[in-house]
Amino acid sequence: MYSEKVMEHFRNPRNVGEVKKPDGIGEVGNPVCGDMMRITIKVKDDKIKDIKFKTLGCGAAIATSSMITELAIGKPLKEAEKISRQDIADALDGLPAQKMHCSVLAADGLREAIADYRSKIKK
């Protein structure tokens, strides 16, 4: 059902955990739905300097979380927030149709973390 790449990220997820003193936090999903994700980012010069995730969810939820941290790290915020669910799925060599919502969750999580960072610097 899953591609080799999804399984590889599920087996060895990248950037698990939380960055220290995060500049932005994105929390999406809820345990009732079975998927929950927290993305924490560190921002420097308007770029994502560090990013980590914690996820409760299925194999696809963990793999998409892991993949978005790889896609986002080092990217300018403006590019990072444009990462779409399709970008994540493509980077994982595809996701089963009923698992596409997991990549939505990951993309939303990152955008929420970036929005959180922006709302904080405005203050």
Partner: protein, 392 residues
Amino acid sequence: MDRLIYLDYAATTPMRPEVLEAMMPYFIEDFGNPSSLYTLGRQARGAVEDARDRIAAFIGANPREIVFTSGGTESDNMAIKGIAFANEKKGNHIITTPIEHHAVLEPCHFLAKRGYEITYLPVDEHGMVDPADVEKAITNKTVLVSIMHANNEVGTIEPLEEIGKITREKGVYLHTDAVQTFGHIPINVNELGVDLLSVSAHKLYGPKGVGVLYIRKGTRMVPTAHGGSQENNRRAGTHNVAGIVGLAKAVEIAEREMVSEAKRLSELRDRLLHGLIEKIPNARLTGHPTKRLPNNASVCLVGAEGEAMLLSLDMEGISLSSGSACTSGTLEPSHVLLAMGIPAEIAHSSLRLTLGDKTTREDVDYVLEILPPIVERLRAMSPLDEAWKGEQ
């Protein structure tokens, strides 16, 4: 992968070599159609009738009350629609439970769309139906009560004998889906008081694609497959001779081994359950603590998601199933666990381990060694790091 441990016997079982051996002649040599009158046909007919006799004796039925089908799903559909359509003059009310297999629930949904009234009885936190609720739910429009013998997800064995007394007294037909119990615990249709009982061969080391519907003599019903006059006009279609012979062989093996195997498996099941609960903080048993299938160990391992556990175990050579949303193709966790009042966030962490003839104590101990660190790893990855430690 060096090790392969199959713990999903409730999903299907491997065929026993003796079953295959018994089936083999009926594909090429004795290939006749049991409805043909010449020797080749009569031989095939003989094999089908011998199988019918054996299966009938196994559940205390008359051979004429045994109808061969393509499996559990067809048997359930035939029982529910066959009774509903034949008894429209009496009424349009059916009583069942929310924890039935989809092969019962979906025919009920189908009938509900066509104006039938369906009552779903509540179950308690163990998935047990209260016979008093059956009695209260029966009206003069009730034509059928359909309650499974044992639940396929959590293993709870329902109080059918008591329910059977009530339906007999009220003159209402009682159907049971016995797919999980047939060949695993003793069944006598008269003691249970059932009028219809569904069976599937591949759950007891027989072939896939063959089953039985037991129909008590005098039961008023119509066929759901129309065609030839096979099975006394109750189920049209050429007999699956090899499959039927295979089912009878599986029954013969069950006659011999069922009692001792149930004892062996229930000991392994308890070792597994106690081990999981001891080694994994906040592991919870699902289903009834004692009135459960000998081979069913089902648990919720709160704070770890079912599919993620399943994939991790698969990498270690262990096959089992989960009631998590992510394993069902829908976004809802198991309807059985939800009906038992288990919150969705806990139901997502369910695992079902079902044991069978090849399961050994070493297998159980291997699972007890492999699973706890998997749960620990997934919990550590969760944003709800503390949630699983106590009540939410």
